[in-house]
């Protein structure tokens, strides 16, 4: 990997292993790198521990989405989904367990997969991509059982509301749709309330806490109460937000701008912590392990910043 490629690298997705000791990151060259967190966080770690323990090419196109289940790592590449076993990856064995492709209408143009999430109620994988549809695959037998149609432009992000087993999806057409068994297909109109026409109407991040939902992108990041479907707070952040997460009593969000924003639920921006990459694409919190509770962010750089304490950047992992 020459210096020019490193300069042009963007990290699009991250996922922690189920044991919490490894981090997998996917970049725009289709590679996935596995970093050992326990080595990088130990008191006597060196610069070598901040390099990946394993790097391999997973897909032809960029890896936009990574997801970890109990023992597998799912990666989404150029219209296909591959599964890798975490135990095999730690032993540096890079053979995928399976590779599947949702049923696309046209076989000429392969749409990219932007986002995946797991619906634990019925053990299915929800995939949203460039063909404006959401495909639902049963994880046990790998069959794509449902296609949810409704978006008029490609789907940026999907998330699942645990308690009610509903799927929320945000897309380029500016709509956030709620797909549920009993509610059917319901659309939320985000556009009018928090619109920023200079950035467009695309929604690039949707995340939910069962009662509350954060969505943002072109329009400002806003917090919605799902029961009453009303926006409660609008966050005054300058750039477009690409990923957001609820953490204890804070909202952490990343997007354009070389910082992680900490916001309170009331709408005020509490802090903006500077990071290495110039703009950030992905943010992940390690909840799988108690001794490696870190926040990692990645973006348009080959560095992945690691925060052991949310208030400052501890060190960076490098591809």
């Amino acid at each position: 990997m020459g210096p020019v490629e490193l300069l042009h690298m963007s990290v699009f997705s991250q996922s922690f292993s189920p044991c919490g000791r490894f981090l997998a990151a996917g970049n725009n060259y289709g590679e996935i790198a596995v970093f050992s967190l326990s080595a990088a966080l130990s008191p006597d770690s060196t610069a070598l521990n901040q390099k990946p323990v394993l790097t391999f090419t997973a897909h032809e196109g960029p890896v936009f989405s990574l997801l970890s289940t109990d023992c597998h790592l799912l990666s989404a590449g150029n219209g296909e989904i591959s599964a890798w076993s975490w135990s095999e990856l730690t032993k540096k064995n890079v053979k995928p367990l399976w590779t599947r492709r949702p049923n696309y209408k046209s076989s000429l143009e392969i749409p990219e997969i932007n986002s995946m999430t797991i619906n634990s109620r019925d053990n299915s994988l929800v995939v949203g991509g460039g063909d404006n549809n959401i495909h639902v695959m049963d994880l046990e037998n790998g069959v794509f059982k449902t296609v949810l149609q409704g978006h008029s432009d490609y789907v940026h992000c999907v998330t699942v509301r645990e308690r009610e087993a509903e799927i929320l999806s945000g897309g380029e057409d500016g709509a956030v749709r709620v797909w549920g068994e009993f509610t059917g297909n319901m659309g939320l109109c985000v556009f009018q309330v928090c619109a920023r026409p200079q950035y467009g109407k695309w929604i690039s991040c949707v995340t939910t806490d069962s009662d509350w939902m954060l969505c943002g992108g072109g329009p400002s990041l806003s917090l919605w109460h799902l029961r009453s479907l009303s926006p409660t707070s609008i966050f005054n952040l300058s750039g477009c937000q690409r990923q957001a997460a609820f953490h204890q009593d804070l909202i952490l969000t990343v997007g354009e701008g070389a910082f992680v924003s900490h916001c309170l639920l009331g709408g005020e921006v509490k802090a903006q912590i500077p990071c290495t990459p110039q703009s950030l694409n992905t943010l992940q919190l390690n909840n799988n392990s108690t001794e490696h509770r870190v926040l990692t962010v990645g973006g348009s750089s080959d560095h992945i910043d690691v925060f052991t304490n949310l208030s400052y950047r501890a060190f960076s992992l490098r591809f």
Binding site: D211, W212, L223, H225, S228, S230, P231, T232, S233, Q248, D249, L264, L265, G266, G267
Partner: protein, 215 residues
């Protein structure tokens, strides 16, 4: 050093002096200056005094001198014993402080764990409060329930009044309709009767005239 070597030799024949003792003694007083030298001098002067042929006064002074040296040796021994005692007590003291500090560390650990739990609770409470505030803001934007109920009641009353009026008007309309109907039907009957009368008059007239012409 020579004395220690002699001592060691003696030790080989009389009692096994442990190596530790030898090591300690070498450490403390290895060069032979100080107490060790004093004891050696005393021994030498004692043997000299025993074998000296000098006058009794000289012997007496020598004897006094030796007693003085002996007293000095005893004094330094006493001092060393006291220092040893002091060291023992210092060590006890340090042990106590050590265990005290260990206890403090353990209790500080516990307090830290407690405080961490507290902070988690406080964060949850804060999050709930913020959610409540956010919802309250939205709710405040909607009008008060009492107001709306009152408005609804007023509208209800108005509606009732209006329907009452409508009923009255309807009833009046019905009555008038019926009256007009009665009037019109009476007029028609009268018209019929008049026509009938006219017709029967005409008939009578036409019957009479042929009868007149026929005569």
């Amino acid at each position: 050093m020579y004395s220690l070597y002699l001592l060691y030799l003696n030790g080989c024949y009389f009692a096994r002096i442990p190596d530790e003792v030898i090591r300690k003694r070498l450490l403390i007083d290895g060069d032979g200056a100080g107490d060790d030298r004093r004891i050696n001098l005393l021994l030498k002067s004692f043997t000299k005094w025993c074998n000296s042929p000098g006058t009794p006064e000289e012997g007496f002074t020598q004897y006094q001198r030796m007693l003085g040296i002996l007293a000095q040796c005893e004094f330094s021994m006493g001092k060393t014993l006291m220092v040893y005692d002091m060291n023992l007590r210092e060590m006890e003291n340090y042990e106590k402080i050590y265990s005290n500090i260990e206890q403090n560390i353990a209790s500080a650990h516990e307090k830290i764990a407690e405080c961490k739990k507290e902070i988690q609770r406080a964060k949850r409470i804060r999050k709930n409060r913020q959610e409540y505030d956010a919802l309250a803001k939205v709710i405040q934007q909607h009008p008060d329930r009492h107001e709306t109920l009152k408005q609804l009641e007023a509208l209800d009353k108005e509606l009732q009044q209006l329907s009452h009026i409508k009923e009255n008007v309807d009833a009046k309309l019905e009555l008038r309709k019926k009256q007009f109907h009665v009037l019109l039907s009476t007029i028609q009957e009268l018209q019929q009767t008049l026509e009938n009368d006219e017709k029967s008059d005409n008939d009578d007239n036409s019957q009479e005239s042929p009868a007149e012409n026929g005569e």
